[in-house]
């Protein structure tokens, strides 16, 4: 799932997304997480409209991402969020720390 080559290949995409801002379109709070995410739960997953669009990828400028640094009051449609880089999940058995995109309240 997270090979070093794949992480390296995603660097440009991650860099292009950092700092972008948008608004929450819909959200949930994951209470029962998949493998590798148990130390983070519960955590919100949100769909965000990014007005500037999403560079180099298909789609209409929306992304699905995990919300970090959150409180209950941030869980609202229309809430402004910004793209940040974070550790995605627990390290793999090979010791690779997977970094990627999350969003945090503005």
């Amino acid at each position: 799932m997270n090979s070093p080559v794949k992480i390296w290949r995603n660097q440009k995409y991650i860099a292009s997304m950092l700092g972008r801002e948008g608004a929450i379109v819909s959200w949930t709070v994951i209470r029962v997480p998949p493998g590798g995410f148990s130390n983070l739960a519960p955590y919100p997953v949100v769909v965000v409209d990014l007005p500037a669009g999403k560079a180099g990828l298909v789609g209409d400028g929306r992304i699905t991402a995990q919300l970090v640094d959150w409180t209950e009051s941030d869980l609202a449609v229309g809430k402004r969020v910004r793209v940040v880089v974070r550790r995605i999940s627990e390290p793999t058995t090979e010791g690779i720390i997977p970094y990627g995109i999350k969003v945090k309240p503005v």
Partner: protein, 379 residues
């Protein structure tokens, strides 16, 4: 050329720890062949619907795997389309007969899920989503919860109305000897069950299940053959972020529209439907996307019992118990829906029989709506 379902059978669905995938397949295919009144040598091809055997069990090459188990050397194929694998396998089987390549083929839907840890199953199922959704730590309940959040906000649907879908489907399952659950549940129990992905709770979610279902597809009409009046597939973006709307599944709308046109009918003509209720919100979306209710009206109609056995005057939805009550071995589900419709149209569904049913619709979804398969069957 017409194509018929001439035999249909399913195993019991549930936590079948004592039963292997090979045994499940043998039981389902054996039952379907017996129902069709033919021997295995008449089968010219095998289509296997399955999603998780590779990632969970380490076993791929399922066409040959199950052909070996059945003792045949006919052409055999595995078809994968997440939770729509079963419906997709049937679509391909129907096309293969329509092409004139084969006269009689078997479709087997099979999944073995309870051998594995629930978090491993949750991770494996996310193979049906997008990379971005996996990186977000989303689960399938989570993706449908996002749809539920958007839908409830738009149409003012209540938590209790969502719960009514699960209550209805558990009631239907209580009448189905092959269902995973035989207990009825209440609205109160659903809305107080443990939280999985807000606003969805445990009893909004279909379970992790084992099971297999099989049908015989043929261009020769037998005494009890059921006509496949339409078989359609539509595709949408893999992830939710690629969708223009989060309050409908466009693939379902498209597959449904084309199926009605192909069969020359309208939604009003359907007597019985098996739809993809992997989560309670999914049945509400399906009811609207398939044209049974106007946008925003399905939740209240379901809660009022308009699609419940014994109460509905024109359409009964998920008499098998659906994915929620009957169980959801993901690759088997799409084929089980067809088995249920065949039983209903042949008038042999026992306590859950929809009286006088002559036209049935099956709706099978892969992922959060990236694949939708619709079949219309006629007596």
């Amino acid at each position: 050329m017409n194509v018929y379902i001439t035999g249909a059978a399913t195993t019991k669905f549930g936590e079948l720890w004592a039963t292997s995938p090979r045994q499940l397949a043998g039981e389902a295919v054996g039952g379907a062949l017996k129902d069709a009144g033919i021997g295995i040598r008449r089968i010219q091809a095998l289509f296997v619907g399955n999603m998780l055997s590779g990632i969970l069990g380490g076993q791929e090459h399922l066409g040959a795997f199950f052909a070996e188990e059945l003792g045949i050397t006919a052409p055999a194929f595995k078809i994968e389309g997440a939770c729509a694998s079963g419906g997709l396998a049937l679509h391909n089987a129907v096309n293969s007969v329509l092409s004139g390549q084969y006269d009689t083929v078997v479709v087997l839907g099979v999944e073995k899920m309870t051998d594995h840890k629930p978090e491993d199953v949750a991770t494996a199922l996310m193979g049906a989503g997008s990379e971005e959704e996996r990186s977000a730590g989303a689960t399938f309940p989570g993706l449908y919860a996002i749809l539920a959040c958007a839908y409830m906000r738009e149409y003012g649907t209540t938590r209790e109305q969502l719960a009514a879908v699960a209550v209805k489907n558990h009631y239907h399952a209580s009448l189905n000897p092959n269902a995973q659950f035989h207990t009825t549940i209440t609205i109160e129990q659903v809305v107080r069950s443990s939280r999985i992905a807000d606003p969805l709770r445990l009893l909004d979610c279909s379970p992790i299940s084992d099971g297999a279902s099989a049908v015989v597809v043929s261009n020769k009409k037998s005494a009890h053959g059921i006509l496949v009046a339409a078989s359609t597939v539509a595709t949408d973006s893999l992830g939710l972020a690629g969708r223009a709307s989060l309050t409908q599944l466009a693939a379902t709308k498209e597959a449904g529209k084309r199926a009605y046109a192909r069969a020359g009918i309208t939604p009003k003509d359907i007597d019985v439907a098996e739809v993809h209720d992997c989560f309670t919100i999914a049945e509400i979306l399906a009811m609207e996307d398939l044209g049974f209710f106007a946008k925003g009206k399905a939740a209240a109609a379901i809660a009022a019992g308009e699609t419940r056995l014994g109460k509905s005057r024109h359409l009964v939805v998920n008499p098998s118990g659906g994915l929620k009550g009957c169980g959801h071995p993901v690759g088997a589900t799409g084929v089980k829906q067809i088995v249920e419709l065949v039983d209903q149209l042949r008038g042999r569904a026992g306590a859950r029989q929809v009286q006088g049913a002559t036209i049935g619709l099956a709706h099978n979804v892969g992922g959060s709506g990236a694949t939708a398969v619709v079949h219309i069957l006629k007596k």
